[in-house]
Symmetry: D2
């Protein structure tokens, strides 16, 4: 059904995830599994045990029967990480087609380079440097957007002008994904090694998944979330 679920926002108040639609639920997972493993009895308790069994033993195909349609607004650098997951279907705003709005992700707090984890952030930058970093960051995106507008004013095409826009620019896309692949996404993107921004989105996606298929998500948390 087309849903009226509230849009869930990330902390900068611009990025969001919205569940547009979904198909199936825990009952569909059970139905698909029972075609393989026999109808058996059908109490709620036995269905839950079957889902637990499937999840524990990584019998993942029944979880492909639950499908989600999400509407996402996220910065380009996060969208880039997101779309490395090739198992979903994407439709994204085109900066060749549409003029981009002046909307950029700005970190609330800046962090220092992590000492051992070469790809991550460590502790927050000291307080006295936070406003300096914010000022430099904001200058960069303001300059970029001004140049973008200046190029458009000169008559330059959108597809060429946008080349100066930074990866903190907000984009939007629709994402169709099934529960199996969503949970795999969450294993990677809820992980402490994932970047803060995409981890926030993963947390929102997890909430939506739990609303649609609570027994499956609980079984996944029991068996895989921590181990991953």
């Amino acid at each position: 059904m087309t849903r009226q679920t509230p849009t869930k926002y990330v902390t900068d108040g611009i990025g969001f995830v919205r569940l547009v639609d979904s198909m199936g639920s825990d009952a569909r997972v059970v139905q698909a599994a029972r075609v393989s493993y026999g109808p058996g009895t059908k109490t709620k308790r036995q269905d839950d045990k079957l889902i637990d069994y499937l999840m524990r033993n990584r019998h993942t195909s029944p979880f492909e029967k639950v499908v989600f349609e999400f509407h996402v607004k996220a910065p380009i650098f996060t969208a880039r990480q997101w779309m490395r997951h090739r198992t979903g279907s994407y439709n994204e705003v085109s900066a060749r087609y549409s003029e981009m709005k002046n909307e950029f992700h700005v970190p609330v707090t800046f962090h220092m380079q992590h000492e051992r984890n070469k790809q991550g952030s460590g502790t927050p930058l000291k307080d006295s440097l936070q406003p300096v970093a914010t000022t430099v960051y904001k200058r960069a995106i303001r300059e970029a957007y001004e140049c973008y507008e200046r190029l458009l004013d000169l008559g330059v095409s959108r597809e060429e002008a946008r080349m100066v826009l930074p990866v903190s620019l907000y984009t939007e896309f629709y994402w169709t994904v099934n529960l199996r692949n969503l949970l795999h996404f969450l294993e990677l993107r809820l992980d402490p090694h994932a970047q803060d921004n995409i981890r926030e989105y993963a947390g929102l996606l997890l909430e939506f998944a739990r609303e649609v298929a609570p027994v499956s998500v609980e079984a996944w948390e029991r068996h895989w979330k921590e181990g991953a």
Copy 2:
């Protein structure tokens, strides 16, 4: 939504396709396309033109937004052709787990080998030979099923006993597929070079697709069905 659509049967009266559920429709295709190409105006006529444009130019990703859940009963030789399409999700009855019923596909009419098309059937076998062919065919499947039961009676495991069962045996599966990949399936399986049995299923799938996304299917028929 979970649907109460009638089950559609193939001509032998055993095989069927049932639409269990679906997500999205022509409106969803338009919504996904407009995120890329701008909202523009939104009359029914303009939406239909947009779908026609997308289909004509093979901008296929918006058609991935419509998703179907089918329940299929088909002979193994047809299920084998079906599952070569790797873009859907399958859950099938297991002959390792469940005892197979005495249900086999029997052709209503036998055909001669096609003279030029090495992989196809040609004109029907002459009338006098039809009952001979039917008798031979039925003897084969009767013997096979008797041996299967005999092996089970001896205590042989289901997974070993079933090895004697022919590919005309009926199996069942659930199939999740989006409209883009369903239409690609139909291009190949409605084709005159496809085997009669799977062409029947393709015809039923086409009817369901038309009920869910009539404008998209009509546009596909206009631009691609014949050319394929």
Copy 3:
């Protein structure tokens, strides 16, 4: 390179796996990983540690850089399990196009139904019943093949006549698969719950994989083979 590796046979002496070609090796995995994680130093010892790190943390994409081309001969029931793995590319003999040879898999030993594992075999059938089971089994496949030949003699097309052939019939196919997906196949098909026949093939595939990418396979065995 096109390889002259020996063909490896399963125990019935008919089924086989042959490594036709491969691309990449452990060095390619390292090369792909270093584009993401920096060149760093490059001793053999450090490369091996990097592979171990990637495998342990399920950073699987570098393992997609090693690609195999296999030629497989297997019974249909095993080919059916095999092709449920949708991540490889398959080209299979067509029983619509070619007349099938009189080649079927016959179990050397029959097993009883497993008492608790509903989808598996348990202990061997007692000795006195083995020849009975073998006789029944062989009668079934002999009758089936005779009916197949009789139908062809009547002039029935190959695609219709083959419907009487059992799933123990041998088929052949080419399979292109990368190391990541091959290892996932092995996790499922080396498992004690997999059927004996496909486990034999999995064992042969593992040997070929080890010849091509020994460090990666060893790391996988250390971290995942047992846990799966």
Copy 4:
């Protein structure tokens, strides 16, 4: 085999495509097709006719037997279009892990917005405005890179500092793709509606494909390149 083919550059002299390795050729396509359609005779002329037949009738699976490993250096906006093709395998430089070099794509000539094609560029900007556009563009990327360095100097982590870098920044990745999917990529990315930059890369990829599988590529050009 690991190849020593020359690296092919795009016109800005920074971006490139390099064929790292490949597996298979026209002969492999023929071999895979003949397992389905029978061995038949095997003159060069007949093999070429078979490839033409496969291509004309979109029997695409044998073309999955030829696999390429490319090393690509391209601006982020092009890499984004590239990676929407989900059928290949990617390993990319991480701006979280490594400090980015001061390398950006700068258009040699700027173009005006196309009047009718909303997503494309039209005729070149008039000569008098070219240096103005170039100055604005270069100022934007210089400012962005200066802010990036300034943030790093303040101690900000690489993953946060890089958020100010524009999508014209150069990135590098390895791409594994089979011939079938490469040709599909080329159909979309050689198209006049594709952006100039990615069309240049598509042209280079086409040259490499032709070197590896000349008969297949010629058949594709005959039947599909223009129609696409």
